[in-house]
């Protein structure tokens, strides 16, 4: 059975040559993951995509036309980035629009992945959630305070939709590997190989050389293992890249947790069968007793505004940390004069050139007298107006506060921009990263079907 991942992410692109070649090689389904939590909690918090609508339209349009022309199912997982209801609806509206534009007819399954709070709280109370890493136990209070929570579906909701005859499946938050494991598992293929194949191709061209943008990748299951090769004839897959990808973004190289079990890749072999194809064998799947899905949730932490400024004066760059502390105190005094309480905001001066990237994990001796520093002044408050009001005070304090040895009495900062103050937007924090145990893998993932006729 042959499957194709069109790109590592909807909107990151792929070549039309690669797509066409895969379809002509007889792939049984095409898919693409549209989501990631890597860009941080903001996108789930605001239910917005982190790729452009223009790029999303291009990728979805080419996939949709290809899938219909060759009459193979198309599966999109984690629609809109976070896979929440609003992001799912946005993706569905693009598909409907593209279908009209290209005169396509098909049956579409829409699978939601944003369970109701009452449903989640019943499971929290019943002790059916657990931390997934270094985070506190989940409480109903954390659930109630979250801005948005999604659950990550496994293969079962996708298989349910395939069995119902869906041509196009648009899924909310979904395991990346499940997009590709769903169909082979329905046809009785080995679970270890199906899941491992899914894990390797879900990131698209990560395993392809040369690394020049995203592209289609084809996985072919056979009796003892699977082949991985690029869609594009001029690109290659190397054993090193494929083996290394098993490690990628995963806490363990040997084990990958999926809802129904654990993929064990500790006994795998990777063989280069020709210059562009890698053969993988030995992947094993160990089913777990409990069926668990991942919950991802974010809480709103406030609104952030910033200014960016350079410091070139050598007296100031040498003593900036103490100076910043004095300015923070002055900012707080000034904010109080505006009747803004100390606990209504946080203020920070991120100092690039002096340990801003690694913070207290910086191991190198910092240059005590750097030629210049980049300062990002930052205020997070509940609302934009408060954030900007305190930021303006912080900016003034940094610009015009005296320091020992000061000669530059008309100003301490070089602002690159006017306006100097920038409203960055809302700030979120991951508050939920837990497992949820289910009796029925379909339960929190309701599906609806839509006949698209053009």
């Amino acid at each position: 059975m042959r499957l194709m991942a069109c790109s590592g992410m909807i909107g990151y692109g792929f070549t039309e040559v690669g797509l066409r070649r895969g379809l002509e090689m007889g792939v049984r389904m095409i898919g693409c993951d549209a989501g990631s939590m890597d860009p941080g909690p903001y996108y789930l918090g605001t239910a917005t995509p982190f790729v452009s609508e223009t790029a999303t339209r291009r990728d979805l349009g080419l996939m949709l036309r290809g899938a219909r022309e060759f009459d193979v199912p198309m599966i999109i997982g984690s629609a809109g980035g976070g896979g929440s209801d609003a992001q799912l609806a946005w993706t569905v509206s693009l598909i409907e629009d593209l279908a009209r534009q290209h005169g396509l007819s098909f049956k579409m399954a829409i699978i939601k992945a944003e369970p109701a709070r009452a449903y989640l709280n019943r499971h929290v109370t019943a002790g059916r959630t657990a931390p997934l890493g270094p985070i506190e136990e989940l409480t109903t209070d954390t659930v109630d305070r979250a801005a948005r929570i999604v659950a990550m579906m496994g293969v079962e909701p996708l298989q349910n939709a395939l069995n119902a005859g869906a041509d196009v499946i648009i899924a909310g938050r979904c395991s990346d590997a499940a997009i590709y494991a769903a169909l082979p598992l329905m046809h009785g293929h080995d679970a270890g190989l199906a899941w491992h194949l899914g894990k390797i191709i879900e990131c698209g061209a990560q395993v392809i050389e040369p690394r020049a943008g995203q592209d289609c990748i084809i996985g072919t299951l056979n009796d003892d293992g699977f082949h991985v090769e690029p869609g594009h004839p001029d690109k290659i897959c190397t054993k090193t890249r494929v083996a290394a990808h098993t490690l990628y973004e995963n806490p363990s190289p040997h084990e990958l947790k999926e809802p129904s079990g654990v993929l064990d890749s500790s006994h795998c072999t990777f063989t280069q069968v020709d210059p562009r194809t890698v053969h993988v064998t030995g992947s094993r799947f160990k089913p777990t007793e409990a069926y668990t899905v991942k919950l991802e949730g974010v809480r709103r932490a406030g609104f952030r505004s910033i200014f960016i400024a350079g410091v070139r004066d050598p007296v100031l760059t040498a003593g900036f940390a103490d100076f910043a502390a004095a300015c923070e105190a002055r900012t707080r005094d000034q904010a109080r004069s505006l009747k803004i309480d100390d606990d209504a905001y946080t203020v920070a001066f991120r100092t690039y050139g002096a340990g801003a990237v690694m913070g207290d994990r910086e191991f190198a001796a910092l240059n005590l007298a750097p030629t210049e520093l980049c300062i990002i002044g930052e205020v997070i408050a509940d609302d934009e107006a408060t954030s900007r009001a305190v930021l303006a005070k912080a900016r003034y304090a940094l610009l015009h506060t005296d320091f020992d040895g000061r000669l530059c009495i008309s100003g301490n900062l070089a602002f690159p921009f006017s306006p100097s103050d920038i409203s960055v937007g809302e700030v979120f924090d991951f508050s939920i990263w837990h497992t949820l145990e289910l009796d029925d893998p379909l339960e929190p993932f309701p599906v609806t079907y839509q006949e698209i006729t053009s």
Partner: protein, 103 residues
């Protein structure tokens, strides 16, 4: 003979999120001899990593993956990815402390 540094031997030294709570570092060696040497030298031992990244040693896992000639180190992030105090949303620039380890 001066001992070589990890950055002069490895073909990849990278860091990345493994979810928003964990940071994962991959060291990939160019050949079996280099892989065996780095594993045997114990330069990436959990206690060493804990000290370097200022976490407790029981929060660190170090797992060699021979098929990829790789060693994976996973430890807690300083702050949750993209949260109010985070400084590296993707965790992509936290690999440098490994560069100068002597093997």
């Amino acid at each position: 003979m001066t001992r070589r540094k990890l950055k002069d031997v490895a073909s990849v030294i990278r860091s990345k999120n493994a979810g928003p709570l964990l940071l994962t570092l991959d060291v990939i060696l160019p050949d079996q001899a280099a892989f065996d040497q780095v594993v045997a030298a114990g330069v990436l031992a959990p206690a060493r990593m804990a000290e370097l990244y200022r976490v407790s040693h029981n929060e660190v896992s170090v797992i060699p993956y021979a098929q990829a000639l790789a060693i994976k180190i996973t430890l807690p992030r300083r702050h949750r990815s993209g949260g109010p105090s985070d400084s590296d949303v993707y965790g992509a620039q936290q690999h440098v402390p490994l560069f100068d380890l002597k093997i």
